[in-house]
């Protein structure tokens, strides 16, 4: 029923490689094969070298990162998340390239001791239909 379920990603030409990987439990980030620059969200032309024709492929990354910042969500702007309140969202900088960030839930929850720079690793939350959304968990020792 509209409004009661969580949004599922609509796969498109730019995002197909990302969501195919997550469905298989892997994190992959779009990378320019000419200069090695990672981009997220995926782009249609490399922001670093602008090579044409673009040579952009999804490459596996470690799934490790650090917390750039976080918030505890207390209002569900998306009704499908109302039952999950309060929950933590983190902006995670991936270790492969610091300016590549993903937003994901921090599964440790709002009572966890969270700090800037804390190390996290990716986990996956399943959605109906076989899709999976990346989330993160604290790995303990600060990086």
């Amino acid at each position: 029923m509209e409004g009661d379920s969580k949004p599922v990603p609509v796969v498109d030409a730019q995002s197909e490689g990302f969501w195919r990987a997550t469905a298989e439990g892997r994190l992959a980030v779009q990378r320019c094969q000419d200069c090695g620059h990672f981009s997220h969200p995926p782009t249609t032309i490399c922001n670093a070298c602008h090579s044409v024709p673009p040579s952009l492929e999804f490459e596996p990354v470690s799934g490790r990162g650090t917390i750039g910042s976080w918030t505890v969500m207390r209002q569900a702007f998306l009704p499908g998340f109302a039952a999950d309140l309060p929950f933590v969202l983190a902006r995670v900088k991936v270790v492969e390239q610091e300016d590549v960030a993903l937003i994901g839930r921090l599964v440790d929850g709002p009572t966890a001791a969270i700090e800037l720079g804390a190390a996290v690793e990716v986990v996956f939350e399943s959605l109906p239909g076989g899709a999976a959304v990346p989330a993160f968990r604290l790995v303990g020792a600060r990086s």
């Binding site: 509209e2 969200p41 918030t71 209002q75 702007f77 998306l78």
Partner: protein, 395 residues
């Protein structure tokens, strides 16, 4: 290559109107806007048929997937021109954020180029009845797929990231922010057209307000409203023949996008780097320095923007905005005097621009401050929006 503005003080604001700011107007947004535009034209001493240029920035409210019917949910420049039925030589809407500085820039350049003699600039904001950021989407396409399946939606949640990072990396606290918001509401309470007229708040009200996305509470966010404002701009030469004291456009700057953004979940470093560039361009464009500005009106649609702008404009160093305000016990800058978005309602940069216009033209009535000659009106965050400098004199 110089970044200096060759049209400095060649274009002026010559009239204005501001509608009442209400949760839900008795009028449709289109009717409210036309009423306000006609008042602004009359205020400038002009007739509607003399207006030959129209501009606005009409985006938002769209975050919640609301309708965007022209004349109902939004009001474009084209809609105003069509409805007034005047002969427009120049019609141009601004696309992007920092909508108000963006449309002031368009209007100024059109007048400088001779594309229009008298430009009507309006801003119309509506309050969707379903909740501004509320969105019942069950599938997330395009940019939304990178945030919504993860549970991230709404500008307040985005701002929470850079604001939390600010608190974590400095000695600033939510108690400091309470003083900012209480100050804005105190000033807004004095403004007759404000939604919050006669409704100041206390620090206790702020600290007990409902949390939205930590550390953002409901009182850190401007309240969605129905409202319209309009300004008339023309050349300095033509302005001399009109009834009101002109307020000149001295220069401006716009934020450039930084890295690919996930909603508004900027890193604090991205905010600072982008903001510093905006300020650098502003000083180069105007030929002024911070010390020349005696009425800076900082944007506050989300309260942390006040801190970001203080840093951007060089009033304090990184992380020192809260301390700066604590030390500024005389409130010599009057930075909150407009009441801002938090003290007026979600008018998107209008309170700051209107405050500059009213103070510099000497039309602020009981709210008039002494000795204000050069104002600065910000909109949105400094890394993202824009800023215009206004002057009471041509220099």
């Amino acid at each position: 290559m110089s970044g200096r503005f060759t049209g400095r003080n060649e274009v002026a604001i010559v009239g204005y109107a501001q509608s009442p700011i209400e949760r839900h107007s008795r009028l449709t947004l289109g009717a409210l806007t036309i009423e306000t535009c006609l008042q602004a034209i009359a205020d400038a001493g002009l007739q509607p048929e003399q207006i030959d240029g129209f501009t606005t920035g009409s985006i938002l409210p769209a975050a919640g997937g609301h309708g965007s019917v022209d004349g109902v949910d939004i009001v474009t420049a084209n809609w105003v021109a069509e409805t007034l039925g005047t002969h427009a030589r120049w019609l141009c809407g601004f696309q992007g954020y920092g909508q108000l500085p963006g449309s002031v820039i368009l209007a100024t350049e059109a007048i400088l180029a001779g594309s229009a003699d008298y430009v009507l600039l309006h801003r119309a904001l509506s309050n969707p009845r379903r909740g501004y950021h509320q969105n019942p989407m069950t599938s997330a396409a395009g940019g939304a797929q990178w945030v919504a399946p993860q549970g991230f939606w709404g500008a307040p949640s985005g701002i929470a990231f850079s604001y939390n990072e600010y608190l974590q990396r400095s000695d600033a606290t939510r108690d400091d922010m309470a003083d900012v918001v209480v100050g804005l509401r105190a000033n807004g309470a004095e403004i007759p057209w404000s939604y919050w007229h006669g409704q100041p708040i206390t620090v206790e009200d702020y600290m007990s307000a409902r949390m939205i996305a930590d550390p953002v509470c409901i009182l850190d966010c401007d309240i969605p409203i129905d409202g319209a404002a309009a300004f008339v701009l023309t050349s300095a030469e033509r302005a001399a023949d009109l009834p009101n004291a002109p307020v000149y456009v001295s220069g401006f700057a716009q934020g450039n996008p930084t890295a690919a953004s996930l909603g508004m979940a900027w890193s604090l470093d991205d905010v600072r780097e982008g903001s510093a560039r905006t300020a650098e361009m502003l000083w180069e464009h105007t030929g002024l320095t911070r010390d020349d500005i005696d009425h800076p009106q900082l944007y506050d649609g989300f309260s942390p923007f006040i801190w970001y702008w203080l840093e951007a404009l060089g009033y304090c160093g990184p992380g020192e905005a809260a301390q700066f305000l604590r030390d500024d016990s005389s409130k010599r800058l009057d930075i909150l005097h407009s009441g801002g978005a938090l003290g007026n309602g979600r008018m998107h940069g209008v309170p700051q621009m209107l405050e500059c216009y009213l103070q510099l033209s000497g039309r602020a009535g009981p709210r008039q401050l002494d000795g204000k000659r050069v104002g600065l009106a910000c909109h949105s965050s400094a890394n993202f929006g824009g800023v215009v400098v206004y002057s009471a004199e041509r220099f």
